[in-house]
Symmetry: C2
C-alpha cells in the first residue's frame, strides 16, 4: 500500500511529519510518498537522522499556508505539496492522502481534485473524539456550516461505514445532536433529519443525543451540521485544555502537592492518553472518491503516524466504495448531500 | 424588596428551595413570597426546621412537572405554583420571580403572563458560566433554536446591560460564537449578525469567538442562537462532569493515590468552587417586563439562594427598564427579537 503525505502541512512540518511517516513504515508496513520542498525535506532528514526506507520524495515548490484563501490556493498554487499530492491520489498513484495542512484547502482540494462521490454536494469531515466509555465519530465536524436534512442522513450512513470498517465497531449506534430527547426538538432541519434517520435502514439509529451526554461516548456516531460540529469539537478541546491547566495549577501549589503528583502521575498519564485525540489519527473527508485524511495542525510524529494508520485502515476497509454503495441504497435518486 | 419564588419547582423542592429562601432572607435582607402546596411546604418547614421569618406562603394547588407540555401547562394549570407566582409578578405583587422548574414552562409563562418588552418576539435565556479567567454570560442559551440576525444583535445589547448591572463589569466585551475569526465565517445569519454587532453602539464588540476559546472567559458576553447555546451550555456541563469523574478515578486507584488526594484536597475544592455554576445563581429570561429567573433544576439551597441574590441584583440594577431603553435605541423600528 502506498500512502501519499503532505510533508509541508502543519505546525511542525516537515520534521515531525517525516518522523511520523518513518514510524508508520516500520509499524504498519506501508510505503510513503512524501510531497514537498525537496531541499527542506533533505535538511530535516539530515538534522533528525530520519530513516527514509520506503519513503519516496516528490518535489513540490509551493506551500499552502493557513492564511491562504482555500479555494484560490488550490486553484492557483498548482505546484504546492497539497495540490501535487491530491493530483497523484486522483491519478491512482497512491491509495490515500494525509495532510496536517489547512482544513479549508484540503476540503477544496478534495472537492476540486479528488472529486466527490456521485450525489454528494460537499464532503463532510468526520473526527474521532475520545469519550469516557469509548471514542465516537463526530460528523460533520466543520465542513458544512449549513446542512439540509438529507445531508445529515447521509452523514449517518457514512459514519456507520467508518466506525464498522475503520474502528471495527459492530452495529454502531447513531444519534442526532439535539436540545432534547423528543423527536420534535430542534430546528425544522433537525426535526426532518430525525424522521429520515428513523427510516434509514443502513444505520442503527438510537434517537437524539443531548449535548451533556456526548462526552460519555455511549453512542458511536454523533451526527450534526458543521457549525454545531465545530462547536462540539473545538469546545471539547478548549474545555479539556482549560480544565487540565487548572488541575495542573492545583498540583503546582506547594511542595506537598508536588509530592502528591508523584503518586498519581501514572494514573494521570493513563487519563491523558485516554483523552488524547492524537491516538485516533486524523479526520476523514467523507464523500470523496479516495481517502483524504486531515491530521491535526499541531500534529507531532505520533499523531501523524496514527493518521497514516487510519489512512491504511480506510484503504483496507474499502471505506470509500462501501460508502458509495450504501449512499446509493439510502437515497435512490442520488440527490443527497 | 419582595421576591416571589416557586416553592414546587426543581428536583429538591420544596425543602431545598425553602432553605435557600431562608438563607437569602438572612444574607440579602429580602422578603420572600413562597408559592406552592401549603401542606407540603408546612411539612418541609417542620421536618427541616426552616426559619420562615420574612417568608409568606401563598397556596397553589397544582404543580407543573418536567413532563408537561410547556405552553399547555401554563394555559391550563391555572393554579400551579408557577402560574400563580408569575401572575403575582405581572400584577406588581413582587419584584422578581425565581423558579427551578421546567425551563420551557417558565419561558411560556414569561411570554404569556409576564409579557414581553415591546418589540421582543421571544425571550432569550442568559446563563452565567464560569470561565478560567472570569465568568461570562452565554445567550441565548436555549430558548430560541432559530434566530434572525436582529435577534442576535438584541441579545448582545441585553447581555451588556446584564453584565454591567448585575455582575458589575465595566464595558463588557461582547463576542459572537463562530467557526473562525474572520467576519465572513459562519452561516448567512452569522455573517449578517457580525455586521450588525459591529454597528451596535450600545456594546463593545470584540469580534467572533471560536468555541475553543470560550472556556477561557476572556470575553464577557457570548452571543449565539439557542441551538448552539444549548450545545455550549450542556456540553460544558457534561464534559466537566466527565473529566472530574475521570480524575476522581485516578485518585481512587490505591492507598497512595488516596493519600495524595489529602495533599491536594483544598486546591481541588477551590478549583471546584471556581467552576461551580451554582455560585452565579440562575439564568435570566431576557426580554420580558419583570425579572424572571430560572434556577438550575438540580438546585440545592445554596444554588437557589444565589438565584435569589441574582434576582435582587436585577431589581436593584433596574435591568429590565435599562434593556428596554437600550433596545429602543438600537433598533428604532422596534421589530427586533
Amino acid at each position: 500500500m502506498k500512502i501519499i503525505i503532505d510533508a509541508m502541512g502543519g505546525d511542525h512540518a516537515p520534521a515531525e511529519i517525516l518522523k511520523g511517516a518513518a514510524q508508520a513504515v516500520k509499524e504498519y508496513h506501508v510505503s510513503i510518498v512524501a510531497v514537498g520542498n525537496a531541499e527542506k525535506i533533505a535538511q530535516a532528514v539530515k538534522e533528525h537522522s530520519i530513516d527514509m526506507d520506503q519513503i519516496t520524495i516528490v518535489n513540490a515548490s509551493e506551500e499552502i499556508s493557513m492564511c491562504d484563501e482555500p479555494t484560490a490556493a488550490i486553484r492557483h498554487k498548482k505546484d504546492s505539496s497539497m495540490v501535487v499530492g491530491m493530483r497523484m491520489l486522483a491519478a491512482g498513484e497512491g491509495d490515500a492522502f494525509v495532510s496536517a495542512g489547512s482544513t479549508g484547502a484540503l476540503l477544496a482540494g478534495a472537492t476540486l481534485i479528488v472529486k466527490r462521490l456521485k450525489g454528494v454536494k460537499r464532503p463532510a469531515i468526520g473526527t474521532v473524539i475520545p469519550g469516557a466509555n469509548h471514542p465516537f465519530l463526530l460528523l460533520d465536524s466543520g465542513a458544512n456550516v449549513e446542512c439540509r436534512p438529507e445531508m445529515l442522513d447521509a452523514f449517518a450512513t457514512m459514519g456507520t461505514v467508518y466506525m464498522e470498517k475503520v474502528l471495527g465497531v459492530k452495529q454502531p449506534k447513531v444519534a442526532l445532536v439535539n436540545n432534547g430527547a423528543e423527536e420534535t426538538k430542534g430546528t425544522p432541519t433537525y426535526v426532518t433529519a430525525h424522521a429520515l434517520l428513523k427510516q434509514n435502514s443502513n444505520i442503527q439509529f438510537v434517537g437524539n443525543v443531548e449535548p451533556k451526554d456526548i462526552p460519555q461516548g455511549d453512542v458511536d456516531v454523533v451526527v450534526c451540521d458543521g457549525f454545531t460540529g465545530n462547536v462540539i469539537l473545538k469546545l471539547t478541546e478548549g474545555l479539556a485544555k482549560m480544565l487540565v491547566g487548572q488541575i495542573k495549577g492545583v498540583f503546582l501549589k506547594n511542595a506537598l502537592t508536588k509530592l502528591a503528583f508523584l503518586f498519581v502521575k501514572d494514573g494521570m498519564k493513563d487519563f491523558k492518553k485516554k483523552l488524547d485525540a492524537d491516538e485516533y489519527g486524523g479526520a476523514l473527508m467523507m464523500g470523496v472518491q479516495h481517502p483524504v485524511i486531515k491530521a491535526h495542525g499541531s500534529s507531532n510524529a505520533k499523531a501523524f503516524k496514527n493518521a497514516i494508520r487510519q489512512a491504511k485502515a480506510c484503504v483496507e476497509g474499502n471505506v470509500v466504495n462501501t460508502m458509495a454503495e450504501k449512499l446509493a441504497l439510502t437515497v435512490p435518486d442520488g440527490t443527497e448531500g
